[in-house]
């Protein structure tokens, strides 16, 4: 029997945009066990809530992550609004939904680019990121920021979008849809990509349920779960959609699910723009939170949990975020067991890990 070798993977690695360290116990080319550890970018943002005004903390919450920053801001606002029993105006709910779905397109395009880069498909990487720039342009035009928007606040949103702007967004997304189809067909039909990803890193439905996976990772293994289906704080109850699900559970299935979600998000934005009601964009906020509240939101990477506990002052006792990557790390550890060493980078990327979110 061959000897066991431990190979350190990360925190600096060409495929890892963020620092995570995994000790890979290897026997020849096979991974026997993977032991992850984190803590390179831990900032203690949850603790900071004790020293920041709960209204100003939205800016901190947005900085948990640079990719799903809008979702983090929205999730925190929803938790505080729940604790203070604030009714958000319907127009604000629609605007938030539109920005959140744009964030999903932005996140999935960024991921597709990283995925292509991980397998050495540079052209596809550049094409994905070129498309992503168009979404960032829409963000800049409508919020003033490309990554951190600061457009969400307790009780609603800060900026409105005119009818002309909303229609222009839909027109641009319609143009983008055709271009996206060309890029995504490369991902799903190109023989090299299929050979590289098909049957690699299989996570069975049973494993996905047992390991409490969330988001596209769970849906790629046949687990139907999407928090948008029960979301009453966004506009999702007025929009029709079905969760994107695959059954294979391998790297290609995770890729398929995210690609399907790109087109699904464009469809959701189109529906939301058609139905967006007129009215106020923010509710009046009086007093300080006294209660506690749990809420959850479907981020691009999956279900995220936000919890706040108030004490009647403007400083909260506790703010907790459970990010999707937090829930998907056990699945990564399980999927790495028994895989080839050459497939490790591919597998890590298909989980779409966001370590900055995870460490907060």
């Amino acid at each position: 029997m061959a000897e066991t070798t431990v190979i350190p993977f990360g925190p600096q690695h060409p495929v890892l945009p963020e620092p995570v360290h995994i000790d890979l116990e290897m026997q020849d080319e096979k991974v026997l066990r993977a032991i992850p550890s984190i803590g390179y970018v831990h900032r203690g943002l949850e603790k900071l809530v004790e020293k920041r005004d709960y209204q100003k903390f939205v800016y901190v919450a947005e900085r948990i992550c640079g990719i799903c920053s809008f979702g983090h801001g929205w999730g925190y606002c929803r938790a505080v609004e729940g604790a203070m029993h604030i009714d958000v105006p319907p127009r604000a709910k629609y605007l938030r939904t539109i920005w959140h779905e744009l964030s999903r397109i932005h996140s999935h395009l960024l991921w597709l680019g990283l995925m292509a880069d991980a397998m050495g498909f540079e052209n596809l990487f550049m094409s994905s990121w070129r498309m992503r720039e168009k979404i960032l342009d829409i963000f800049e035009e409508t919020t003033g920021g490309r990554i951190i928007f600061s457009v969400c606040k307790i009780g609603g949103v800060r900026r409105d979008m005119e009818k002309g702007t909303l229609n222009s967004i839909v027109d641009r997304l319609t143009d983008m849809e055709a271009e996206l189809r060309v890029i995504t067909d490369e991902f799903l039909k190109e023989p090299t990509v299929i050979r590289r990803m098909s049957g690699v890193g299989v996570l069975s439905r049973e494993d996905a349920i047992e390991l409490c996976c969330v988001g596209p990772v769970a849906r790629a293994s046949g687990v139907v779960g999407d928090m948008r289906l029960i979301d009453t704080e966004g506009a999702y109850q007025d929009l029709s959609f079905e969760p994107c699900v695959a059954t294979e559970g391998d790297c290609l299935a995770r890729c398929k699910v995210r690609i399907a979600e790109l087109f699904q998000s464009i469809g959701l934005i189109r529906q939301a723009v058609e139905k967006v009601p007129d009215g106020e964009i923010a509710a009046l906020v009086r007093g300080n939170p006294k209660e506690e509240f749990f809420t959850r939101i479907e981020q691009p990477r999956g279900e995220a949990i936000y919890y706040v506990k108030g004490n009647g002052t403007k400083f909260l006792d506790r703010m907790r975020v459970r990010t999707p990557t937090n829930a998907n790390i056990p699945a990564l550890v399980r999927a790495l067991q028994g895989c080839d060493y050459a497939d490790v980078p591919m597998l890590v990327v298909t989980i779409d890990p966001c370590i900055s979110c995870t460490e907060r």
Partner: protein, 155 residues
Amino acid sequence: MKQEYTEIESPALLDNVKEMKEDGYRLVQICCTRVPDGYELTYSFDKEYNFCHLRLTVPESGWVMSITSLYWSAFIYENEMHDLFGLDVRHIANDVDYKGTFYRLSEKAPWHTPPKKPAPPVRPQAKQPPVSKAAPAGEAVKTTAKAEEGAKEHG
């Protein structure tokens, strides 16, 4: 979203979590909150979008049993509670018990201290009356002493 917390005692944790597992619930998260008399732990579960919570309070010197024997994925939350709050979580599954090294921290259990309500902001004081330009009495005495010393040296 309904907010229901089932209060349980620490020794009954494993039995309650086992019931959730047998009912087909998924572990969503574990949240540790520092309260003045210890730690408030909230275990959240989900089954077909039914979101529910188990809650227990552990005294500051107390400990809590790991649930990794039932939900292996709980190791992320339990190691985090141990590393950040200093809570003693016992019997974490051997292969995922990091013994305080899951997070790389420069300070041990940095979130151990309970939150303090910040002191009210200090109001700026009223303007002081303008100080006269004449030298204060203390300086005058010093000058006199120096002059005396100088006089002695010149003798």
